[in-house]
Symmetry: D2
Subunit: 291 residues, 4 copies
Amino acid sequence: MTDRDELPSNWGRWGDDDELGTLNLITDEVRERAAREVRTGRSVSLAVPIQPAPVFSGPFAPQTAEESPVRQIMAYTGSPAPAHADVMLFTNHHTLSTHLDALSHIVQDGQVYPGRPVGESVTMGGVVHGSTTAFAAGIVTRGVLLDLGADGPVPVDRAITSQDLDAAEERFGVRVESGDALVVRFGWMETRYRGNPMPGMAIDAARWMHDRGVSVYAGDLGDMYPQRPDVPSAMHGVALPRMGMPLIDAVDADELAAVCAELGRYSFMFVAAPPRIHGMTGVPVNPIAVF
Amino acid sequence: MTDRDELPSNWGRWGDDDELGTLNLITDEVRERAAREVRTGRSVSLAVPIQPAPVFSGPFAPQTAEESPVRQIMAYTGSPAPAHADVMLFTNHHTLSTHLDALSHIVQDGQVYPGRPVGESVTMGGVVHGSTTAFAAGIVTRGVLLDLGADGPVPVDRAITSQDLDAAEERFGVRVESGDALVVRFGWMETRYRGNPMPGMAIDAARWMHDRGVSVYAGDLGDMYPQRPDVPSAMHGVALPRMGMPLIDAVDADELAAVCAELGRYSFMFVAAPPRIHGMTGVPVNPIAVF
Amino acid sequence: MTDRDELPSNWGRWGDDDELGTLNLITDEVRERAAREVRTGRSVSLAVPIQPAPVFSGPFAPQTAEESPVRQIMAYTGSPAPAHADVMLFTNHHTLSTHLDALSHIVQDGQVYPGRPVGESVTMGGVVHGSTTAFAAGIVTRGVLLDLGADGPVPVDRAITSQDLDAAEERFGVRVESGDALVVRFGWMETRYRGNPMPGMAIDAARWMHDRGVSVYAGDLGDMYPQRPDVPSAMHGVALPRMGMPLIDAVDADELAAVCAELGRYSFMFVAAPPRIHGMTGVPVNPIAVF
Amino acid sequence: MTDRDELPSNWGRWGDDDELGTLNLITDEVRERAAREVRTGRSVSLAVPIQPAPVFSGPFAPQTAEESPVRQIMAYTGSPAPAHADVMLFTNHHTLSTHLDALSHIVQDGQVYPGRPVGESVTMGGVVHGSTTAFAAGIVTRGVLLDLGADGPVPVDRAITSQDLDAAEERFGVRVESGDALVVRFGWMETRYRGNPMPGMAIDAARWMHDRGVSVYAGDLGDMYPQRPDVPSAMHGVALPRMGMPLIDAVDADELAAVCAELGRYSFMFVAAPPRIHGMTGVPVNPIAVF
């Protein structure tokens, strides 16, 4: 199963210079399907709230602080202050920040999607190929939630397979179609913790996503932790770098699951529009499900 | 006209502790109206692309650089690198970044919306009231474009009034309703320049937005520059701090205008979902119009 | 005692545009006196070690961290890495960093040294007068240690007066002369804690420094905490802004005290050469005593 | 000459775990020799002034800016402001900043001084061996200036050899002894420019420094540029990683040369006391020559 030639891959599928990956699957037809999901305009955020950690000057700083993806510096604007402004130091790949991974984020076999040597995509001065530029116009497509944690958190040592995903579709009366954004809830928002063991997707599940044509993956969890040393991780080791499928890490799908259950439907319009910053390896995002 | 008691204001309208301002106007009914605009799922970004300025180490740095709201630092992840990551220093209120102003961004008469002393809303460690927390769940409403620059850029010394806005509605066959996001195009994307004179809204136009119940303002321009010394500026001096109307600065409405013209309609679903960062004075955003 | 007209002040003493303050007292004669202190070349650092707090990308970050004046970002230099480099976010006025306060750091009665309106010295873009530029060439003078904590930490509610300083001189057989750097040890390195009550200097002690012609003050403590509401603090409220005496905050004088006791002398050459950064409000420094 | 076994090296000389490198050569005897150089207390800074680049909020930012090693953010301290403070983003290895390179800054043959695999010295979270911690207490030793540019800038294609250094010693009547800091002036302050060809040291000159026991190198230039592809660069490729000799990059020796010429002596006490920051790859420094 870990023979690399057999791993699902889109290298070359949309050309040797492609930067969109599975976003190519979001066609006009898919967008129309997404549009048909919009009925009441009710919306749900899938982002984890970030509480910035202040950068304090002077004798007021505490000696320890919660870690945060954002260090906030309140800026001087004059005295008295006519306005309030701030500057932030932002860590793009942080487990406490809901963020979009660019396709060149992960290296596999010395290459990044779609099979380029690292040095041709990434430089000291930023990412020149396969960066967040691909997300510039925003991602609008149909979204589907598979709530694997509907009966309680997925057990820690559980590797989710294609059968689990098929079963979830059946249970929730929904089917993932080509171009859809797949939102997965493991039910781990409360208990996930950096460095602790966590369940995740098997490579077989990544292949399922490949076969179905998932355009974006957004989950409260993704890869099992700790990683098996002999197998690339399904999402960050296969889906992102080989399938060219953007990942949204650190999603909070709890409210979404509650709304889907309340409405009795598990599909919606999915809008992910991160700040339009080119050339990055990742970018914070606030994905929105619109019903 | 500049008697402060006569300026449009929502101080107290939704309570002394309100943090949503005119976002309160986005009711379920407004969302349904927005939903009805979605037909094909076609979407347009209203954000200006940001090209980060790299923070270079070593002998490779140039001696001058374009200014940018984003300073990007490529991060070390090991050698050889298994992944690529980065950290950014982000300037929240920057004229080259499309961003949402929080309600406490601007001080008027020593107070911030909805009439609180500055010290009760803003601290050295961040904003405790009237911050970007208000935008946490994203803003989904109906959007309307008034393309004031359809026949060419609005002249530099022109103060847009309620009559101009009425005329634009008539011309484009659209009417701004309570709860709508108002997108305005002056036709200045190419020519606007920091420090140069620019046209903008008259206070009379802000009062029109107040009367109509605009929930959010998004424009390629907003306030006239230079500012008249005896009059508060219409958008940053009245609409934001007194009406409690969030502003999206530095919008690019050119592509939107082209699409509206092509489709022959000037209304759409408007989605603004900035990174879910609490306690800030502003935050970058990539507003999306969905047709 | 708190009549402001009676507070020691050097406003105007070296002209209305002076940026050096009491550094003006370091004459060639003072430097020669300093030179005579150098005999063995033995040196002692007066700086507190700073352990940077890393800015981690990826799943490895802890959830809490020690606060630090320095946030370190390891930089990507290529893969494999030919070199290692880093970037740091540095908080100039931090109680865990030994740093030099520039003369315009503190405002008194709406003015900064030597009596300028704030807006003429400090802007949104940096400090244009009374900044760290004054320290550009380094400070080389004679240093004297008064070890007030030789018999144990100075009690928490103790305000050090001129009599205490006179007594210390007598005890340690040393006399502070015009142009000297004064190093004071309260014996609080182990116990000082942000937000906890601490002893410090009385205004009478600042006047003593004024009369003696101290050029720089470097102490493990300086001002009493909490501050009395009706009296400006002696060091940050009087010495820095009125006397124009640069302060080195957060000094570690423990090793210095041990060496002085061992050698039986309390004077030395004092070298403070912070990074040569212009236009700042403060700058980290590693003061060195050379014997 | 480029047979790596023949390159000068101190790997193992002071043990497999050494972090001081050639700073080990600064003995008590060397310090006494340094002390004897101090006569008048006159001092000269060898640091290039840094003009910070402000991080501007609001409509006031220019569209281009000079590059700078320092990005300064003026901090909010309240309104009206009782104090002024700032935060800086500092690039440690920058050609416009006089800085000390830590021993693990450069990798040679997959190893860093004194022959450790990279992964044992450098991590994503900082440097655990061979970092700036070695400079914590400051460097105090005798300094010697060899003014190679006394008759005009060294020609661009000139590789300085041991013979040039011998000749300079003879001309200036000084001799580099074991433990000395070597300051070299190429006369390139005005004309050096990143990316332009520059003269520098031959490996033969690094061997000369090795034989003489130089403890620290401080030059306005160091390595030739562009580098010859088949030969490691003398200072950053041999002296730093193999000899374990700390380098001070981007030194301004012009004023020092003038003072040496005026006084007719080319030796002095050399004090380099960078901010006491542990675990970094480099740190800004303001080296001081005391006469």
